[in-house]
Structures are given as structure tokens and as C-alpha cells.
């Protein structure tokens, strides 16, 4: 949704996100054609066809085929953020990490609707799309992230990412960054601006630096990479990244902690930390983040105005009854904002949505996160953890989990199988 549309929307709603949206049926942006797909039996609607939404939709159907599941997703294809850094580095192609939705429909009877969700009427239990409304008994929202562009002075939501790609939603943005690296002269400088935590994929910026360096080492060995990190130090797998950079890219990657970018100028290709203005040939500004627009419009974000608080076992919003939020958008205690976490949360949520709809008690959460990062095209490192609920919060099981002892090609081999498995799990 564009800003203008959002303004109209809020004007219509009296500016109150989270208000019952029944009044919007007359709005020009929302078709008043009524129900897009009339509900006959019990129905779960899932918003978002990414790491969380696809799995939630599939596992509700697998757990109770008597429940109709409608997955609403604007795009016809999904491009994975995990492994998109390898596309930027050049050892993977975008097609390797792109999936469709056909088999979720044919194998599991998930009804896939390609519409943009414009609102949620929690009171009437309806999802509003441009093509009409979708009634639900329970709603699972897995919308991913949105950006807090407004915190970066000079950032234009359209022009800036075209010149200074964030590439933090994979697809077109990934390819802009890749092409800029290809076009850059040898001896150039690439800048990566890392936002304050929490953001999607904690080790992602450092894997990205590694993949840029892997490409530069072969094609542009005189080039360098500056990481301007809003956080004091590398936020994930720090020791392993530093070890890998020393081993493979000595002198090529400069890490600067406590260097928060506060201002950007996409015409001059500069970023400003408030202390220093730095110019790059390629500038990858990863803006600070929050839950995606729809989570905000539906009134699902909490007091921080950024992320969605949920029950730690059912992922039901603590703000809106009957609506569950999973993936990067929710506050999932110790579980990080990663693809694997979203996959695991989706399964927990699906089993519990089915339990609740059948009048049964919720089932205890058991979750996993496994996250690989590549230092070269072959060597990878990982972090893993197992989760349970303790005292109403998701916590890591003590004595389990942790990071790799070292870089390894075996972990790289497992990582390549992981991306295959998880994308096949989402799409078949």
C-alpha cells in the first residue's frame, strides 16, 4: 500500500489502527463486491506466503482436513531471503531460491488467493482485500517486516532503495545489489549499513559482507567493504565471522561498531553517522525494521509500535482475539527473526489453531532454529537452538544449541541441503 492510500485509509478509520474496520466497505480502495469466497464451513485465513504462512497453511490442512484454509499472498512467487546473499555473491541464482504456490493447492487443498490485504476487521472476523473480503474463524498473520524509513533522514521510500538497495526483501532488490557490484570498478568501496537489533536475520549483514568479499576476491581484489553497524559489535556468530574474514579476506572488510547511519543521500551516494559522512560506490542501507504494514493497520503491534506481542504457546495476539501472528513480525521470546524460526513457529501455531478450533487444550511448544551463514561459496557456520515455554515465555533449552566450532565445508554441504528441504517443505 502506498503512503497516499494509507493516509486515506487512516482518515477513513478516524486514524485509529485497530478500530473495527467495518466502515471501510464503502472505501474506493476496498472493493465493495462483498465476500471474495463465501465461507461454508470452518475456515482459517493465512496472510502472507513466506516462511511462516506457507507452513502454517499446510500444517493446518495436514492436522485437520475438515478446516478450509485460504492463503492470501499478493505475489505469485516467493523469493527466499535465506541464500539470497549467495545470489549477491554470485554462487547461487535467484531461480534456485524461488518457489510457487501451485502444489500447496494441489497437494493439500490450500486455497491460494493472490490479492493484497488492505485491512483486517477483527470484530467481524474478515480480511479485506481489493477483490473483496474473506471471512475467517481464526486468522494467522505472517506478514514479515516493514521498514522504519522515517528514522533515516533523506530516505525516500522509492528513490533511495533503487539507488541504495536494502536487499532485505529478496527478489528485485537482491538483483539491484548484485548488478551494482558487477558494475563497480575494481578498487571501489561497498558500504553495508546495519540497523539496531531486533531486525530480520541477525547474521545476515555479516554473511552479506562475506559474500561480497568472496566476489571481490575473484573479480575486484582491490575493492573493500565497510560495515557501519548501529550495534556495538557483530550481533551473531561474531567470532566465526571475524575468523573467516581473517582467513579469506584479510584487509578487505572493515567493521565499525557503534556507527549508526542516521542520514542518507542517494544522489551523492553517501551515508552519515552523525559523526562522519562516508561515500560508497555501492551502498547497501538496511533500514531499521518493524512488523509489516498490515500488522500495524490491523492493530497488532504492541506498545513499542514495532512488533506484535503474542501468547508464547498459541501465537495468538495478546491484543486481538482470534488472530495469531508468527514469523519476523511477532515477539517470540528467545526465537530469532529467522526463516527456520518462522517455519517452526508456524507448525506450533498450526497445531494449536487446530486444537483451539476443536475445543481442545493447547499443545506445548517445542521449537528449533537452525541458521547457516556462508563465509565463502563452500565454507559455512551455523547457530542452532531448541526452544520450549517456561514461565509464559519462549526460552532456549539450557545445555543445548550454540554455534559451530569452526568454519567447515561439511556445514556448507548441509546448508545447501537445508535450503532445498525448507523450500520444498514450503511449496509442496
Amino acid at each position: 500500500m502506498t503512503d497516499i492510500k494509507r493516509r486515506d485509509f487512516f482518515k477513513l478509520m478516524g486514524g485509529a489502527a485497530g478500530l473495527a474496520l467495518a466502515g471501510c466497505s464503502g472505501a474506493p480502495m476496498v472493493s465493495s463486491s462483498g465476500e471474495l469466497m463465501p465461507k461454508t464451513g470452518r475456515r482459517v485465513v493465512v496472510i502472507g506466503g513466506g516462511y511462516g504462512g506457507t507452513i502454517a497453511a499446510k500444517y493446518v490442512r495436514m492436522s485437520d482436513p475438515s478446516i478450509e484454509v485460504v492463503l492470501v499472498e499478493k505475489s505469485k512467487q516467493f523469493v527466499s531471503c535465506p541464500f539470497s546473499n549467495l545470489v549477491i555473491g554470485g554462487s547461487y541464482q535467484l531461480g534456485d531460491i524461488t518457489i510457487g504456490y501451485d502444489k500447496l493447492a494441489s497437494n493439500h487443498g490450500v486455497k491460494v488467493v493472490h490479492q493484497e490485504v488492505t485491512g483486517v476487521d477483527a470484530g467481524a472476523k474478515k480480511v479485506v482485500t481489493a477483490g473483496g473480503t474473506l471471512s475467517y474463524d481464526r486468522l494467522i498473520v505472517s506478514p514479515g517486516i516493514g521498514f522504519r524509513f522515517e528514522e533515516l533522514e533523506g530516505y525516500d521510500a522509492k528513490a533511495t532503495p533503487a539507488a541504495m538497495p536494502h536487499a532485505w526483501k529478496a527478489g528485485e532488490q537482491t538483483m539491484i545489489l548484485r548488478k551494482q557490484l558487477e558494475a563497480m570498478k575494481d578498487g571501489g568501496t561497498a558500504i553495508i549499513a546495519v540497523p539496531t537489533t531486533p531486525y530480520r536475520c541477525p547474521p545476515g549483514p555479516y554473511e552479506r559482507a562475506s559474500q561480497m568479499a568472496w566476489y571481490f576476491k575473484q573479480a575486484k581484489p582491490k575493492s573493500k567493504i565497510i560495515i557501519l553497524d548501529a550495534n556495538p559489535d557483530i550481533t551473531s556468530k561474531g567470532g566465526l565471522f571475524k575468523k573467516g574474514w581473517e582467513k579469506h579476506y584479510k584487509g578487505m572488510i572493515e567493521f565499525r561498531g557503534n556507527n549508526k547511519v542516521v542520514k542518507v543521500d542517494h544522489k551523492k551516494m553517501t551515508v552519515d553517522t552523525g559523526v562522519e559522512e562516508i561515500k560508497g560506490d555501492v551502498v547497501n542501507v538496511i533500514p531499521p525494521q518493524r512488523a509489516a504494514d498490515i500488522a500495524i493497520k490491523a492493530g497488532l503491534v504492541g506498545e513499542d509500535k514495532k512488533w506484535c506481542p503474542v501468547d508464547a504457546t498459541t501465537f495468538e495476539s495478546t491484543i486481538a482475539k482470534g488472530i495469531h501472528v508468527i514469523g519476523d513480525a511477532c515477539i517470540a521470546g528467545a526465537m530469532p527473526k529467522s526463516g527456520y524460526s518462522a517455519n517452526s513457529e508456524a507448525k506450533v501455531c498450526a497445531l494449536n489453531v487446530v486444537a483451539l478450533m476443536n475445543g481442545k487444550a493447547p499443545i506445548g511448544l517445542s521449537g528449533i532454529n537452525t541458521c547457516y551463514s556462508f563465509l565463502t561459496d563452500k565454507e559455512a557456520v551455523s547457530v542452532a537452538a531448541v526452544y520450549k515455554v517456561d514461565g509464559g515465555k519462549i526460552v532456549s533449552v539450557k545445555g543445548a544449541g550454540g554455534v559451530s566450532p569452526d568454519l567447515s565445508t561439511l556445514e556448507g554441504q548441509y546448508a545447501r541441503s537445508w535450503i532445498k528441504n525448507i523450500l520444498v517443505e514450503m511449496s509442496t
Partner: protein, 192 residues
């Protein structure tokens, strides 16, 4: 009071608490589903270095997990993950996975290697890995249609001594050369 809360109230002796404060126990499906992000839905893997575990022997899965947990079996992430589960949870997820359908992937292999592997299998392995590896005897595993990359990693670990074996198995395995182990891996991977 909805049915849900009546049920919870009954469980908690009249106290109505939020779901997560009660800290309900995970079900076998809940435990096993989390494995699917790497091992595929219902344990049917689509990635060649990750083994298919759905439809595998429950004893073998539990033994693998307990080996990872203790450090007896070499691992990358599995050692770190297995430590997150009690033995009872491992048994529950193993039994659940064992009831799933085994989805073997008959992979292309060199005909000579398959023939050699079949011969080695008949001479050394068939008493535990029954029916060309399609069936199992107690803690022996299903091997037919298991992923080749995974089998090769295991053969490497056996050959290097990193992965421990029963005496019965070690006696047979130590006589086999690296080429023979490779032929066996190719043979099993080619089965459906």
C-alpha cells in the same frame, strides 16, 4: 465459558490461566514437526546430505539422537540440537517419525558400482539391513533410497573411526575398502 477454557480449567483444578503459563507438554507431532525444516515434512528429505528419517526404525532414530546428545556420534548441528531433548521426548518423536511413510529416492548410479554394492551387501549386510535395505531388523536402518550424499558422509565417518559401530558391524566394515564402501552407498541410494 467456552469449551476451551472449561477444558483448561479442568486441567488446572479450576484455575484459568493463559495457555503458555500452564506450559502444556509438547505432543509427539509437535516434537517431530520441528525436525522438518531440515529433514522434510514428515521426515521425507529433499536435500541430499540430510537423511530421510520418516519411516525409519524408531529404535534407530532414538539411538542416533541419543548418540548425538552424548557426543558418541559425530555431528555438526545435531549434537547441539539433540541436547535440547529428554530421552522420553526423543523416544516420543522417534516413534512418531517411525510411523510416517518411508519415501525413498531411487538415485541414478553407475551400473558396475550397483552390481558390486549388491554383491557386498549380500555378503556382509543383508542379515540386518533386510530386503536390499528396504526393511530393518531392530536398530538397523532402512537404507534403500536414502540420500547418497548422506550415505557417503556416514561411510567416511565409519572409515575414519569417528562413528562408532557394534562389534558385529565393525568386524564386517573393517574388511571393506573405501571403494567398496562407496559401492555399497551407491547400491543403497539406487534402490527404491
Amino acid at each position: 465459558m467456552t469449551r476451551k477454557w472449561k477444558h483448561l480449567a479442568a486441567l488446572t483444578g479450576g484455575l484459568v490461566l493463559s495457555a503458555s503459563v500452564i506450559a502444556a507438554e509438547p505432543s509427539p507431532a509437535m516434537l517431530a514437526n520441528a525436525c522438518g525444516g531440515c529433514h522434510g515434512t514428515n521426515g521425507a528429505s529433499a536435500g541430499p546430505s540430510m537423511p530421510t528419517i520418516g519411516g525409519q526404525s524408531a529404535i534407530a532414530i532414538a539411538e542416533a539422537m541419543k548418540g548425538f546428545k552424548s557426543g558418541d556420534r559425530p555431528a555438526t548441528v545435531m549434537g547441539r540440537i539433540a541436547k535440547g531433548y529428554s530421552d522420553a521426548e526423543i523416544d516420543a518423536m522417534s516413534k512418531y517419525l517411525a510411523t510416517q511413510k518411508w519415501v525413498g529416492v531411487g538415485q541414478k548410479a553407475d551400473a558396475a558400482a550397483i552390481a558390486k554394492g549388491k554383491d557386498l551387501h549380500d555378503k556382509n549386510c543383508k542379515r540386518c539391513h533386510l530386503e536390499n535395505g528396504k526393511e530393518f531388523d531392530e536398530n538397523a536402518t532402512v537404507l534403500a533410497g536414502q540420500w547418497l550424499e548422506y550415505l557417503q558422509i556416514q561411510m567416511d565417518d565409519y572409515a575414519s573411526g569417528a562413528r562408532k559401530m557394534s562389534e558385529k558391524k565393525a568386524e564386517r566394515m573393517k574388511k571393506l575398502s573405501r571403494q567398496e564402501l562407496e559401492a555399497l552407498a551407491q547400491f543403497y541410494a539406487s534402490q527404491k
